[in-house]
């Protein structure tokens, strides 16, 4: 194809997006659109899958059968969400194995929040409330994104996520209404998860090089800072109801703006964790790579069994 033809196709493509038309997998798309989507959708899928690890850590130690059933269901949902997203990424012409390979080799990233440890039961409450809360804000914005398979996966995910946040908040509420020691556990979890949750929205707008292009493709509908502000504004009143406080001395209601002012994120910590030096990066990757490698014989055996059954059917038919 000549440069002129490509320019023409690009113009038609941009016009379709401007008209809010969805792009489907077999449609022509600029190579950069394809690559950006593979990167973002797979990063999202990896986050769901790695996100099972910190919570899975507490399934056997949940304090009651009710909590255990809910946590199991939540972790199972995350597996499902990872699978919806992997298949959306595969429609762009990358195989599942390539996607796993990118995660295992460290080429692909996942959300840094999952590199923090879950050291008490209250952390399960804080994750549902804050981490899923932040994820929902990001994800609702993506339900109208331009790439059809991604938007459809996000609609399903958003429908299912609301229970995740409510079950987390209910855990926090129960702890905060409990003994002084239980309330202290809730406060401690909030202290540790607050700043990493704010980091989930990514770098500040002026440090986020992809934002302009992603807004144009409707891969992002709001900027990182706008979404972060929305999260703070809706979460502080929820903390007030719990009777615990976020670890930010600079947090203050700004009457004129009608929103909260808040302190500066420790961006050194943010970049350290992104670059692989968080408290649990190594442990998480070892768990994922280990699960994949130790599962090899199971996958192979299932394939051999399937072939054997298929051959049997052919033999019976002849």
């Amino acid at each position: 194809m000549s440069d002129k033809e490509i320019k023409n196709l690009e113009a038609i493509f941009e016009a379709r997006i401007d008209r809010d038309e969805k792009i489907e997998p077999k449609d022509w798309m600029p190579e950069k659109y394809r690559q950006t989507h593979i990167r973002q959708i797979s990063q999202h899928a990896h986050s769901e899958i790695v996100g099972m690890l910190p919570e899975g850590n507490w399934i056997t130690r949940a304090p009651s059968l009710r909590r255990k059933a809910a946590l199991l269901a939540k972790v199972q949902d995350e597996a499902g969400h990872g699978l919806y997203l992997y298949s959306a990424a595969e429609t762009l012409g990358i195989s599942r194995n390539e996607l796993y390979e990118q995660l295992h080799s460290g080429k692909a990233k996942y959300s840094s929040i999952f590199n923090y440890p879950t050291i008490s039961w209250a952390d399960i409450g804080a994750i549902g409330w804050l981490v899923d809360g932040a994820a929902i804000i990001n994800q609702v914005a993506l339900c109208t994104t331009s790439f059809g398979p991604y938007a459809r996966a996000m609609v399903r995910i958003c429908k299912e996520e609301s229970f995740h946040q409510r079950q987390g908040y209910e855990i926090m509420l129960t702890l905060c209404k409990g003994t002084a020691e239980q309330k202290a556990m809730a406060q401690d979890a909030l202290n540790r998860w607050w700043w990493p949750s704010l980091m989930m929205f990514g770098p500040r707008d002026e440090e986020s090089p992809h934002t302009a292009q992603s807004m144009k493709w409707k891969l992002k509908r709001k900027t990182n800072d706008e979404l972060r502000q929305q999260f703070v504004d809706q979460t502080i009143p929820q903390a007030d109801i719990l009777g615990i406080t976020v670890p930010d001395p600079n947090l203050k209601w700004n009457e004129a703006k009608g929103q909260y002012d808040f302190g500066e994120i420790d961006w050194d910590e943010f970049w350290q964790v992104v670059k692989g030096h968080g408290p649990c990066n190594k442990e998480r990757m070892e768990a994922r790579v280990g699960a994949w490698e130790e599962g090899t014989w199971v996958r192979d055996a299932a394939m051999v069994y399937a072939e054997k059954q298929a051959n049997k059917k052919v033999a019976q038919a002849s």
Partner: protein
């Protein structure tokens, strides 16, 4: 050479009276496993009463580049629509 689990497309009927609709895809070693996985991945909240799975390689899809010749001829056949025909208002039940 080890083979990877193939890709399957999943179709779910949400309730009797409605058609099966495409829900997504997944990997499985064979049809039976594809059905079991589809049940776990796509119907955790009573989304369905029936599931179809078909290996993706058996689906033949039209190419969007051919949309012009495939779908545009229908656009100038307005006489296929009831509003093309002019009748006086007094005519009822038509």
């Amino acid at each position: 050479m080890k083979k990877d689990w193939p890709l399957w497309e999943v179709f779910v009927r949400s309730k009797n009276g409605l058609e099966h609709r495409h829900f997504g895809s997944l990997h499985a070693a064979d049809a039976e496993m594809a059905l079991e996985n589809a049940r776990d991945v796509y119907t955790r909240r009573n989304e369905g009463v029936s599931i179809w799975v078909v290996e993706s390689k058996y689906i033949t899809a039209s190419n969007p580049a051919d949309n012009g010749e495939l779908f545009e001829p229908a656009k100038d056949k307005v006489y296929r629509h009831p509003t093309f025909y002019h009748l006086p208002d007094e005519v009822k039940h038509m």
